[in-house]
């Protein structure tokens, strides 16, 4: 059977599974819609969190990026996993004990202020929309490559599916669908990785194969081979970085803190029954995430070797164009791989210096990896189903945050406090419909700056929510004036820096112009420090925190009595 038939079968099967789950898990109350009735088992919640977290970017792009930049790619690996340690130790248990539905709920109640709540709502919606646009685009890309439908039709099919289970099931539907999506995506990622590891190193575990010798009889370690090839071809050494240490440090911190401050991640810890479960679910989530994140760098290194050897040939003289491997033909059609015969010898050559004749898009590495390792067609189709699962699960989680922010934080807690539970549920569903349509629009007409705004999402989460929540839990005397001033200072500082270098003056975006050598990707860390300093300074010169708020903080610091905490 060809790739397309396999893709139709596997994608069709996985989609029917998601829809079946959505029908089974319809939400009947706002509690079920927002936080799945707080009845999700920690293991299931861990899987759902992992699927929620691992987006099209983790699934499709990350290994590709690492494959091209080597050691520097470690910032994504450490940044996007280390954030869970912060979540588990500093945020999740306390927020669960607090026992409300959303992050703006916490900010608004802890800082006894509508202004603080509205600042938080605005940040939550902005961060989530930034993210969701990228996901819908990812869905479109996978559809158009593997089903050969128009990219816009792909986005619309994706929207219809998300619409169905997010609007009907709310958090309950989303959570159980995400459990299924996690299983699909991790299976899809591991199967080609394991086969490739066997082929390249003879080791069944990619994580170990990564540090083993290659099977070509040379007895060389894989990483030494990649380093050797890189040097020979004029690339940076794979196991060394090219970014400055300061920048790597700040980017890694911004990603970690940003992860811990992202509303669609935090909200997952409201769905479990007890504080104890909130702690352990972060652990399960990280295990499920780590399975993919420790495999990805191995996939990256295998793909690097396979790619260089299949283009340049074993003699490193270049492969004649008529004998080009199949993956080059397939991906040339999409325009993501290009060959230009600069020296006119009819042979392809790939290198990091002026001998180079290839341009290869980073995003194809994972999707092309089964073809690189000459695996059967069904493995390729499996990857398509996995990529879709990753993109859809993240999109659904984000849409829920957006609809909750509108129906709960903006309407119920803002403009229309007299709503009944039923009206609020209806408002939540309408908001979800609206959010799906906006997201679809952004997917079909992506603003040219989707890639640039990702830095924004993490920077904003790091510089706004994270300090406000941390201070709210660990510093009883932090008052509303301090928190609001801190959040605004953090956001303004971070956005100004990013907007300047990404939009106003992109030409100046070079290390020489950066403050302290920190790139716009890493500036969220500095924004976070600004937030902390401003919060504490303003707090010193303004009014004392009311006693009942101090008691509230006291009460979220230990688990007992979490069961009865609920919606007011």
């Amino acid at each position: 059977m060809d790739i397309q038939t396999w893709t139709f079968i596997l994608v069709g099967l996985s989609f029917s599974l998601y829809i079946g789950i959505a029908i089974w898990a319809r939400a009947a109350s706002t509690g079920e819609f927002y936080v799945a009735g707080k009845g999700v088992h920690p293991v299931a919640n861990g899987m759902a969190t992992a699927a929620d977290w691992m987006s099209a970017a983790s699934f499709i792009s990350m290994a590709g990026i690492i494959s091209f930049i080597g050691y520097d790619g470690g910032v994504y690996l450490m940044g996007w996993t280390g954030g869970y340690v912060l979540l588990a130790l500093c945020l999740a248990p306390y927020l669960r004990k607090f026992g409300k539905f959303t992050v703006p709920d916490f900010i608004g109640d802890r800082y006894y202020s509508q202004t603080a709540r509205m600042v938080a709502v605005f940040c939550a919606i902005f961060v989530s929309f930034t993210y969701v646009a990228g996901q819908m685009r990812g869905v479109g890309v996978v559809f158009s490559r593997f089903l050969e439908v128009d990219i816009n039709l792909g986005v619309i099919i994706g929207m219809a599916i998300v619409f169905f289970y997010a609007v009907m099931g709310g958090m309950k539907g989303i959570t159980y669908t995400q459990v299924a999506q996690y299983c699909v995506l991790i299976f899809a990622f591991l199967v080609p990785a394991i086969f490739t590891s066997l082929a390249v190193t003879g080791n069944v575990f990619p994580q170990i194969g990564f540090g083993s010798t290659v099977t070509d009889g040379s007895g060389m370690y894989l990483l030494d081979k990649v380093d050797g090839l890189s040097q020979e071809l004029g690339f940076n050494q794979y196991t060394d970085g090219s970014k400055s240490t300061v920048d790597v440090f700040f980017i890694c911190a911004a990603l970690m803190v940003g992860t811990a401050g992202l509303p669609h991640v935090i909200i997952r810890f409201f769905t479990v029954p007890r504080v104890k479960d909130a702690r352990i679910s972060a652990g399960y989530a990280l295990i499920f995430i780590a399975i993919l994140y420790t495999t990805a760098p191995a996939v990256a290194a295998f793909a690097r070797v396979n790619m260089i050897e299949s283009i340049n040939g074993p003699e490193m003289k270049g492969v004649p164009a008529e004998q080009a491997p199949g993956w080059i033909d397939n991906w040339s059609k999409t325009g993501l791989v290009k060959w230009e015969d600069k020296n006119g010898d009819g042979r392809m050559f790939y290198s990091g210096d002026d001998r180079n004749e290839m341009s290869i898009n980073r995003d194809i590495i994972v999707l092309a990896s089964p073809e690189l390792a000459q695996l059967p067609n069904w493995v390729v189709a499996l990857l398509a189903a996995g990529g879709l699962a990753a993109a859809l699960s993240t999109a659904a989680g984000l849409l829920l945050v957006i609809s909750t922010s509108i129906s709960h934080d903006l309407l119920k807690k803002g403009f229309k406090p007299d709503m009944t539970d039923k009206q609020e549920l209806l408002a939540a569903r309408c908001a979800a419909v609206l959010a799906v349509i906006c997201a679809g629009y952004l997917g079909i007409n992506p603003p040219g700056f989707v890639a640039q705004v990702v830095a924004f999402a993490f920077g904003l989460a790091a510089s706004s929510f994270f300090p406000a929540i941390i201070l709210g839990i660990f510093y009883k005397k932090m008052n509303k004036e301090g928190a609001i001033a801190g959040m605004l200072a953090g956001i303004l500082f971070t956005s100004a820096y990013i907007i300047y270098f990404k939009f106003i003056n992109p030409a100046a975006n070079v290390p020489a112009n950066w403050w302290f050598g920190i790139s716009p990707e890493g500036i969220g860390t500095l924004g976070m420090l600004v937030n902390f300093v401003v919060s504490i300074a303003v707090n010193k010169v303004t009014a004392e925190v009311p006693q009942d708020v101090q008691d509230l903080v006291e009460s979220i610091r230990f688990p007992k009595g979490a069961g009865d905490a609920h919606d007011h």
Binding site: V85, T213, R274, R557, P559
Partner: protein
């Protein structure tokens, strides 16, 4: 009040912060110190086919992160019991 006295509440919080602080110190060392600040020095040491600093940045730190959360859960559950503030 769930605690028997204010002193107990303070002692619980202090122990909680100690657990958190020491685990976060390890978190910082494996990622920022081993994976970033001292990566070049550690790369002089080999771990099979890996340079050690590179291994921390792309593998080791992640394994330690997972372990840290499970140690935290075990310690906190024990602490909750000790002070009688665990959930039913």
């Amino acid at each position: 009040m769930a605690f028997q006295s204010d002193e107990m509440a303070r002692a619980y919080w202090k122990e909680n912060l100690t657990i958190m602080g020491s685990l976060l110190a390890i978190w910082f060392v494996v990622s920022y110190v081993c994976g970033i600040l001292l990566v070049d020095q550690l790369n002089a040491i080999r771990l099979g086919g890996f340079k050690l600093g590179f291994w921390f940045a792309q593998q080791g730190a992640i394994y330690v992160f997972v372990a840290l959360i499970f140690v935290y859960v075990a310690k906190m559950n024990a602490l909750d019991k000790k002070y009688g503030v665990e959930e039913e």
